[in-house]
């Protein structure tokens, strides 16, 4: 009786193990090849959203000025930064660095934190118009010194929100 059980259990164990191995070998490939972007990378200039958006309550759209009219939110152009910092906080090391870039006519090579794959079409303007505001995805940046990815940007995460708000979950809405 005991042996029978052993045989059956072992057989099942082997079957399950080989099956899982088969399946997870793919999952492992998937896991190791997906874009691994740091959640909160160090930026060339230690720009603080906490200070700008939090302490000074500058509206998001003041800098990311295309968010409500274009699919891209837009990184503020250098002129915009300099237009204030020509006068404000000139002595601070970060600002000196910024002015340095400006004088060399070089753009600041910011590092992307929220990166969607290129095959996904995400229009900022449409979302804003539908009442999905910046913090829904980007989190409360007014508390972040260094910007940090708070939401897991996966397709299921998108779909959950779309389902919740009863908007189209047709594939071709975002993938074309």
């Amino acid at each position: 009786m005991k042996h029978k059980r052993i045989i059956i259990i072992s057989a099942l164990f082997f079957a399950a193990a080989s099956g899982l191995l088969f399946i997870y070998s793919f999952e492992a490939i998937f896991y190791f090849t997906v874009p691994v972007v740091e959640r909160s990378p160090e930026q060339p200039i230690a720009f603080s959203h906490k200070k700008h958006a939090g302490k000074y309550s500058i509206n998001c759209l003041y800098c990311h000025r295309y968010a409500n009219i274009s699919k891209v939110a837009g990184v503020p152009d250098m002129e915009l930064c300099v237009s204030c910092h020509r006068f404000i906080a000139r002595k601070k090391p970060g600002i000196k660095k910024l002015i340095g870039y400006w004088e060399r006519k070089e753009p600041v090579p910011w590092i992307k934190v929220h990166d969607l794959p290129d095959f996904t079409y995400f229009p900022h303007n449409t979302h804003l118009r539908a009442g999905v505001y910046c913090d829904s995805c980007h989190g409360d940046v007014t508390t972040m010194d260094r910007i940090e990815r708070v939401s897991r940007i996966s397709m299921r995460w998108c779909l959950d929100c779309h389902r919740e708000r009863d908007v189209s979950i047709d594939c071709l809405q975002c993938h074309f």
Partner: protein, 237 residues
Amino acid sequence: MSKSKSNYKWGMVIDLDRCTGCSACVVACQAENNVPVVGEERSAEGRMLHWLRIERYWDGEYPHVRARFIPVLCQQCDNAPCEPVCPVYASYQTPEGLNGQVYNRCVGTRYCANNCPWSVRVFNFHEPEWPKPLNDQLNPDVTVRSKGVMEKCTFCIQRINRGKMKAKEEGRLVRDDEIQPACAQTCPPGAIIFGNMADKGSFVFRLSRSSRRFRLLEDLGTEPVVIYLKGGGREGA
């Protein structure tokens, strides 16, 4: 994939009596949809990637010979044979009656291509190439497909989406003629007409009721939404 009834049912009418075979649509499609050029060698192997092609059939013998042109693109069947066979739902029916093809979901079994009687599905046999700076021409609204992925005509879904978005902003439905795929937009003799079949007043709907109407390989029962109008002949009114 929701079952809700949509206000739109995209359809196309191709008037063969107007079509001259000039191939403007072929290039328009290629330009709009980032369809790569495969080169001489690949062309010889039958690996061209055109989403839209002009088929030419000879009929009869000299001197009573005729050449017939028929532009063939994805027929966007209501009962599409390409859809159920896809094991990963990369090919599926959208609520607006299109046969969607989701590139990033496609694993490249090429089953859908086999099951498409019109052979309009093309496969990326290799990574597409745009020698610099030719890549600057690419349409930013359309994904560039990588190797191993099926692709096909989308009725210029990026234009449809843009048009719908605009209409939604203005709180109305899309107007007739507001959305045009690249082929219909450019067709010099106006042989390709695109529109909303769900709108009974649309031009495309009225044309589709023509007595000259027929559908390619209609007997297969796949219910294509591309409707051809018979052309030619002194008698062919």
